[in-house]
Symmetry: C2
Subunit: 387 residues, 2 copies
């Protein structure tokens, strides 16, 4: 297996993109990534495109082929990867495997979702397809409901408070204010989050990531060839993915996501690091409780300790471990298929020292954590600037 | 790169499966494949699941995770692969890469589609997502329309007749009669096809593959370990995929599918064979014209010559080159995400000598050909019984 590096990254503005359809979003991010990699399109050998529910959102399947068309890349294989909200992370992992194994040299991994062309109710139903349709959605439970149950249990077992949940949103919005690609540029207070409308008790509107449009792309190459394209290649130290049951009811625990613990353990082993070595992490905060669980499942905090730590500012921008510097799903937005790839883009910018106002000084090792559904899929990647 | 073998295959009955949902179909095919491979589920390392439009057909995304749940395979990575009607073929290719590269030893490749829970009109719209939604479907053209244009042009340039088209359906239904898994067990005559209702001139109802439910699965292993599980491993000699533009209007030609020519050329080179060496082929006959074009694009016949050859019976069951012995998409049914995997299952049965009434004696080298959309994606695999 060869070492793999990210040699180019691109991102569209996230948000309610009434000006753009799925094609324009893909072109915005994809062409930026190709330009960033100083690469001509005829060097690209394959496209892995992550999208969750383009069929429900826009009637469009065969999305990787469309992505490839938009970037002018004909005749090369393109595949769409779908794993609910972990579609982008899973696409990145398959792209990594393709390059690492030597099957391909240069591949593009893209992620995209155009979610605002349907009503909020239609979007919620489409997103429900990330769980078990028959056993969960048909019984009346939506995704806020699934995560609310996890939050309730976490509060019951560990004394996690609604204020701790709210502090995740406050931190991530503060980071998003410094990110021009973010959907929201508005600081929040704990009081504002606490007073926002209840969606599914204890989760309020401002505990939930938004409905978003957006796209992201990265270009991968074998590390030994990376400097031909780019002076600051970012090496992928580890790529791992694990699963738990799709149905929440069948899990061993509601207070954590076992797929994340398993994927993280494998990733740390592959990267030969411990959680203490990570200086920046983009974690999957689809709901505020999800970030608290992620911090525990990834081994950054003991079970039940992350909520208070986040409220105490231990993971704020510029800390020893800065979490969701992009603004996370909550502040930057969550176009579901794009999210896993966007996380990699943010880590690359941080490790290159190109994150502008939100640059974490001395960022050395980065981690991304992308969850599908209520935790049936979890994908973890670890990155470091190549020596 | 290691040699890869298929060590187990499974198939559900194809058809209007009112008795079964997507989960039951996946279990039917998946458990049969595991049993056929004499393998215990804890040896499986990853699942690649092909599905085209489960979101539109049933509101269910995250399908590979569901597949994995149904087979009792927790904690291992699962990804859904979507490439329209080539989802199954693309999933097989990624499974092949995973094993060939040494990343994984044993993987399951599944394909499934449950299409009959929506109206025919909803299904046609969902399938339209295989093309360019904005430039094709929104303008009023459905998939029969796209293939009808190809048929018209093929007739104009090469003198292909409606009777030649009809003879594809007649041949494939004759094969399906001998396949207990097939959707249709009814012989057709050319007259019956010719008299069936026009769907999109010159294509009539009986020129079109049906709306189907079904699932298929194969188990892959490194060839060197294959005999541990199975006495008759089938070696994958080649796996290749190519693309053309998603939009029919932008193609170089309407009388063939360039993605198929490119994928086939690469596959023959990898397998070190010529088209003459192939004794059985499962080709993508979503419409009768598609089989005629496939026979030409795959190099079995010169351009414009396949229609007459098929009508003359040159590719009937038991010929030197027997095509669509399963009944093809037309006779066996076309649950879109399952089709590419089902083609591999049929070839494995033929090469093992287990195809029962439809066994082709001396079947030596098999080929499968799976197309996405109107030809934006084409996937070709070549197989041989391991020595």
């Amino acid at each position: 297996m060869r070492d793999v590096a990210i040699i180019g990254v691109g991102l569209s503005k996230f948000g309610e993109r009434w000006d753009s359809g799925i094609k324009e979003l893909m072109a915005e991010a994809g062409l930026m990534a190709l330009e960033d990699a100083n690469i001509s399109s005829n060097e690209i050998e394959m496209i892995f495109g992550g999208t969750m529910a383009s069929g429900r959102f826009m009637g469009q399947e065969h999305v990787a082929a469309l992505m490839s068309d938009q970037l002018g890349l004909n005749n090369i294989p393109a595949v769409r990867i779908e794993n609910a909200c972990a579609s982008g992370g899973s696409a990145l992992r398959l792209g990594y495997i393709a390059v690492s194994s030597g099957i391909h040299d240069i591949v593009v991994v893209g992620g995209v979702e155009k979610m605002t062309d349907v009503t909020a109710s239609e979007a919620t139903t489409a997103l429900g397809g990330a769980g078990d349709q028959e056993w969960e959605l048909f019984q009346g439970i939506t995704f806020p409901g699934l995560y609310a149950m996890m939050a309730k249990r976490h509060m019951y077992e560990y004394g996690t408070t609604e204020e701790m949940l709210a502090s995740v949103a406050v931190k991530n919005h503060a980071n998003a204010v410094k990110n021009k690609y973010a959907q929201f540029h508005k600081n929040l207070t704990i009081e504002e989050v606490m007073k926002s409308k209840v969606v599914s008790d204890p989760l309020k509107l401002l505990d939930c990531s938004p409905i978003s449009d957006g796209a992201a792309a990265v270009v991968l190459a074998p590390l030994e060839r990376a400097r031909k394209y780019n002076d600051t290649p970012i090496k992928i130290l580890a790529s791992s993915q694990a699963r738990d049951t799709l149905r929440l009811a069948e899990r061993d625990t509601l207070t954590g996501i076992k797929a994340t613990s398993i994927a993280a353990e494998k990733a740390y082993r592959q990267a030969k690091i411990t959680p203490k070595d990570v200086s920046i992490a983009e974690v999957h905060d689809c709901f505020t409780i999800a970030e608290i669980m992620a911090m525990e499942d990834l081994g950054f905090y003991k079970k039940g300790k992350a909520g208070k730590a986040i409220m105490d500012g231990e993971t704020a921008l510029g800390s020893k471990l800065s979490v969701n510097t992009s603004g996370g799903l909550k502040g930057c937005g969550h176009p579901v298929g794009a999210t896993g790839v966007k996380q990699a883009v943010e880590v690359v910018w941080q490790l290159r020292g190109e994150a502008g106002d939100r640059q974490v000084n001395g960022a050395n090792i980065g981690l991304t954590h992308n969850v599908g559904g209520s935790g049936a899929t979890s994908v973890v990647h670890v990155y470091k600037r190549a020596d």
